[in-house]
Amino acid sequence: MSNYLKNHKFFKEISSDLKKVEKELDKVLKVNDPVLSQTCISLLQAGGKRIRPGFTLLSGKFFDYSFEKLLPIAVALEIIHMATLVHDDVVDASLIRRGRPTLVAGWGNEVSIATGDYLLAKALEQIVKINDNKLSAFMAKVCIDMCQGEIQQLKYSYDIEQNLKQYLYRIKRKTALLISLCCKLGAMACNADRRGIWIMSTYGHCLGIAFQIVDDILDITADPKVLGKPVGNDVRQGIITLPMIFALKDSKIAERLKELLASDQKTEAEVQEAVALIKQSDGIAKSNEIVQLYIKKGIKNLCELPNIPAKDAMIELAEFVGERSY
């Protein structure tokens, strides 16, 4: 299990079940093909936060918790997440993730895409175990929406005219839908009523949005060693994020920043110049304010739920998302 899980108390409530999820992931991703076996092992060894299975299990705690029902859902969702990361790395030509070389760096595009597709098949295999059309259709729809979000991100790269609404549309699809789905399915699988499902889904949505905005802030402000990848990636790739949208409104730097962000031929010095300009604006502070709004909204949603340890864990998890540095 990743150090992440050992170090954070919000997973204490579900730590033994999360270990079983991890074991199941190990088992499911053991494959015969020598290359796919190596790529799958390297993905597992890269760890990851396992935040998505965590959300699913915690959500189930408020209802008729059944680990047996939740296990294939948690495993499927984490594998879908892994597959999208592998494909994202090909899309972004990313060479480092979580401080380690990506599959693209080690194996190239073809093997990486094949690994991602293989993982999607593995996720589908888990979904078959769930044997629930409705629940599975939700997963499929989110996968489709995630692709649409990514396609929109590419289409509007280097477009400095983007506004907050467009940004939120994009990150909802890119990140929030999957986290929201993790919470929703955790509740659904444990016989939650409509209100319960809605509460969980909304909590996941708020945290997902906050999670992505924090990701976008960290891409500007983080220590690359702590983050496990270089900073300024979004600037480099022309992805216009919330700190940039706010920074572009700062009249003192707007003109130069526009020039830098709109260029698809930036030098590394220009990337760092753009990062410095964004840092010196109030873009980061304003983005953090938005993060806190979503975190508060997410936590507020939970107030109707019973005061059980899982609720404290979800509140702590929300607070962590708002404060994380990696």
Partner: protein
Amino acid sequence: MAVLNSIQSELRAVETQMSKEFGLKASGMKELIQLKLDNLDQILLPAICLAVARTAGPVNNTVIALSSVLQHIYLAQHIHSMVRDREMTDAERQYPILVGDYIFGQSFLKMCEADLFKYVSHFVTVIKKINEGIVLRWRLKNQKISIKDYKAIIEKEKASLTVLAARLGAEGSDLKSHHFAKFEKLGYNIGMAWAASNEPQFSFLTQEYLPKIMANINDLRESFSVQPLQELYEFIQLERGTNAYLASNIL
């Protein structure tokens, strides 16, 4: 004999389903990727599925939906295979990945919505096999590939799909399970011929598999109305321009 005359309306039904489900909200697919598909790429898999089903009688909606899912999966893989280990522009690399994933998602949704859940494990197996084939081809890149290795590659990459197409046509039409193997053999030989015909270095192998296809059809003649399969065979020949050898000998 008109080309695929027995399954024309069913092929149109599959095409209609496909075009409905392809609509990308973010943008039209054609705008994002330059997809080159020949006639076999476009209809062979649904045609196998539908022709097999047609041998037993009228084609039902389940088979039409299964044909559409199968074609979706093939397209997704085909689009993903446009991304290679060579210098590519960002757009050439990025959009095929996302559009391929989008189509995978659509096929999965279709399975849920059209109540095809009991067939999912077939699709899972085939997606795994295809990608094992892709990786095997990658492992042998820059080496002289033996015929044995080449067959192992195309068995996974393409024949797995055509085997499944035949199986789904039979299973979806509620044929008795003891018939499945014969149809799967037919699907296998079609897939091997199709794959080999696409690669000049190994296209001679097509001649090995075309007679086997006809033998499979003849084998089914006693129990089924094989006209749709004969039309399928003619279609393959027509598209591949390899009919001289067999048309007179076997048909």
